[in-house]
């Protein structure tokens, strides 16, 4: 199967899959709609139900797992495949992974280790140091998808062994799933955090919450509120506790939530306008319009994101990013927002440079001023940068949406999807740079201190990319209504 086919197949294949799981796990147990896929999932469901003597904690976790699928399905109806490239497959695989992990019902590190070892995923530390190696491997493997899957070697092998029911899904997306560091974490990521978050405040953020039957901004708001509550608890209980970097709160601080909420409003209104236009049409005109809208939809589902490219060029100071952004945004009149985004990116790059080369400065007689950077500092900087960059990205999408509606200019979906790719790449690149920093700064730390921090950065990066892609999907109805209005104007003239 070729690459593009695999990507295109994800959406339709994954969505019914999760719905099946949902209907099967609800008490009334309605019949699965697509039997062939249902059989695929069956072994997992058994595994999930096996333990009859659950502890209450396990019961809670399991019930949480069982709650997930319906939300997934409703989400996908809201945003029409709103889970972009990473999201849709990730969900299904991960709910399975979570189910497996949930029955284990152990503490945080055990769960992580369990997931990592059983899935054959390298430890976070390895991941971040392996970046260089992978780069070359990916370069070699890029010509052939099968080779790439094999290249993931033990990772793919054991993952498939354990989750054999998911083989087809893994094969479809195998290349990107296994070779990239981010993707590997995604594998244990979102859903697993539902479980992990139970035990560990540092991770109790946006993960797992994505399953709620809610809009994206609600999800983020909830996450932020939890963090706020947590902070309040920490303040009142123990002042000596370390300050944990809270992604959701920072994201809100940078007005990411507000822009997202506003973007959702515009998206929803456009969607209902499109629907009402469709109901007024009939016959050839309807068919014609539907074809045109499908064409727009296609551009939103065919987004390519190649993790390989990310490693290949090292954008040291963010100028490359700036160039790509301004290229993608030419003619959209959102330059001031784009500038903010570029500044954010550059400042993140600066921080990384500062943290990577503190030794040089120390040698230059600044020893007493410049102390070695602590892993907590690096982690906090990483989370902050990711939150800010994501917030700015969503602000940009919001402004783009407003400009499209305002000027009713013809905007190609391809341009926006290119923009999304650029943004996701940047997130990925930054997270890799930051984790390299973490590894360097934490060379003297024990694994159980360092690994959760590295995992945390990768997870927030993968979440950031998901948010950006979801925001991108919100633009679809806006392009649709803009297209409808433009063609209405042209027929009038």
């Amino acid at each position: 199967m070729s690459d593009s086919e695999a990507t295109a197949a994800e959406g339709p294949e994954v969505a019914p899959n999760s719905q099946d799981a949902s209907s099967a796990s609800t008490p009334d147990g309605s019949t699965p709609t697509t039997p062939d896929i249902a059989t695929d999932v069956a072994p997992t469901r058994k595994a999930r139900r096996r333990p009859d003597t659950k502890t209450s904690a396990e019961a809670e976790q399991t019930s949480k797992v069982e709650q997930q699928p319906p939300k997934t399905s409703s989400e996908s109806t809201v945003s029409q495949g709103g889970w972009g490239y990473w999201g849709s497959w990730g969900k299904t695989i991960l709910s399975t992974a979570t189910a497996t992990v949930a029955t284990v019902g152990q503490g945080l590190t055990q769960v992580i280790e369990k997931a990592e070892t059983s899935l054959g995923i390298p430890s976070p530390t390895e991941l971040s140091t392996q970046v260089e190696d992978e780069q070359q491997q990916q370069g070699d493997a890029s010509s052939d998808t099968d080779a790439a899957v094999g290249d993931g070697s033990s990772a793919v092998g054991s993952a498939m062994g354990m989750l054999s029911s998911l083989t087809s899904v893994v094969q479809n997306t195998g290349k990107t799933v296994i070779t990239g560091g981010l993707d590997a974490l995604e594998f244990i990521g979102k859903k697993t955090m539902d479980v992990i978050a139970e035990g560990d405040p540092g991770f109790k953020k946006t993960k797992g919450l994505m399953n709620r039957n809610a809009t994206l901004s609600q999800v983020l708001r909830e996450a932020k509120e939890r963090e706020e509550q947590q902070t309040a608890e920490e303040e009142s209980s123990d002042s000596e506790k370390k300050v944990v970097a809270h992604y959701g709160m920072l994201f809100d601080e940078f007005q990411g939530l507000s822009h997202l909420e506003a973007l959702e409003i515009l998206s929803r209104e456009s969607e209902s306008k499109v629907k009402s236009v469709l109901t007024t049409l009939s016959g050839d005109k309807l068919v014609e319009l539907r074809e045109e809208l499908d064409h727009i939809k296609d551009s939103f589902s065919l987004m390519e994101f190649d993790d390989e490219d990310v490693d290949e060029k090292k954008d040291e100071d963010g100028t490359e990013f700036e160039r790509e952004i301004s290229e993608a945004l030419e003619g959209l009149s959102v330059s001031s927002t784009a500038d903010k985004l570029s500044k954010t990116c550059k400042s993140a790059c600066r921080q990384i440079t500062d943290m990577t080369h503190p030794e040089n400065e120390e040698e230059e007689s600044e020893e007493d001023v410049k102390k070695t950077v602590s892993v907590e500092d690096v982690h906090a900087a990483a989370i902050r940068s990711l939150a800010e960059l994501t917030a700015r990205s969503i602000e940009l999408f919001h402004k783009v949406a407003e400009m499209i509606l305002f000027s009713n200019s013809s905007t190609e979906a391809g341009v926006l999807s290119q923009l999304t790719v650029v943004l996701c790449k940047e997130i990925s690149l930054l997270s890799k740079k930051f984790t390299s920093c973490l590894t360097a700064a934490g060379s003297n730390e024990k694994g159980d201190v360092l690994n959760p921090l590295i995992t945390g950065v990768f997870l927030e990066a993968s979440n950031s990319a998901s948010y950006i892609q979801d925001a991108f999907q919100l633009l679809m109805p806006i392009l649709e209504i803009s297209h409808i209005q433009r063609s209405a104007e042209s027929t009038e003239q």
């Binding site: 706020e228 509550q229 309040a232 506003a262």
Partner: protein
Amino acid sequence: MAYAYLFKYIIIGDTGVGKSCLLLQFTDKRFQPVHDLTIGVEFGARMITIDGKQIKLQIWDTAGQESFRSITRSYYRGAAGALLVYDITRRDTFNHLTTWLEDARQHSNSNMVIMLIGNKSDLESRREVKKEEGEAFAREHGLIFMETSAKTASNVEEAFINTAKEIYEKIQEGVFDINNEANGIKIGPQHPTTNSTLPGSQGGQQAGGGCC
């Protein structure tokens, strides 16, 4: 920072009356004479205290330009408070108030508290709209009224805070259903008072789960 309530505000009014400047003065305590034209909507947030309670104001500063109206109207819904701003040195901005008010009432919830603001009170020499006229308009339409200066910060705090007080009173009276987010009010994260041993909100609902 934890808060007891979150209120969503919108700022509306003709272009150039000083909406963005009012917001900047309120959130950042500074004045910026030359301001970029607002596109669509911009945001600001600040914490205030009313009746000993922390309240977070989430402010949606909308574009005043007529051409943006169809977009900005979308943002009215779900606001608990509105600042309707005119410029005391420009009669036309005052004349447009009725349109703004109709628009706001039509696209938002009926309980929304509206504060009428006559801005640029520092430019007394160029005044075109008497304070009494503003007061009369407010009285006629059931609004609260204030004259402010985003430049000198005169009455800016009061304008935002008095609106919040009015909303807060309405909550106390039970006019606002705080559980309906369409009213533009959200309850903040609850402080842990009793079961602080259980981490997170999950445990709170099913206390006694024996998870240790």
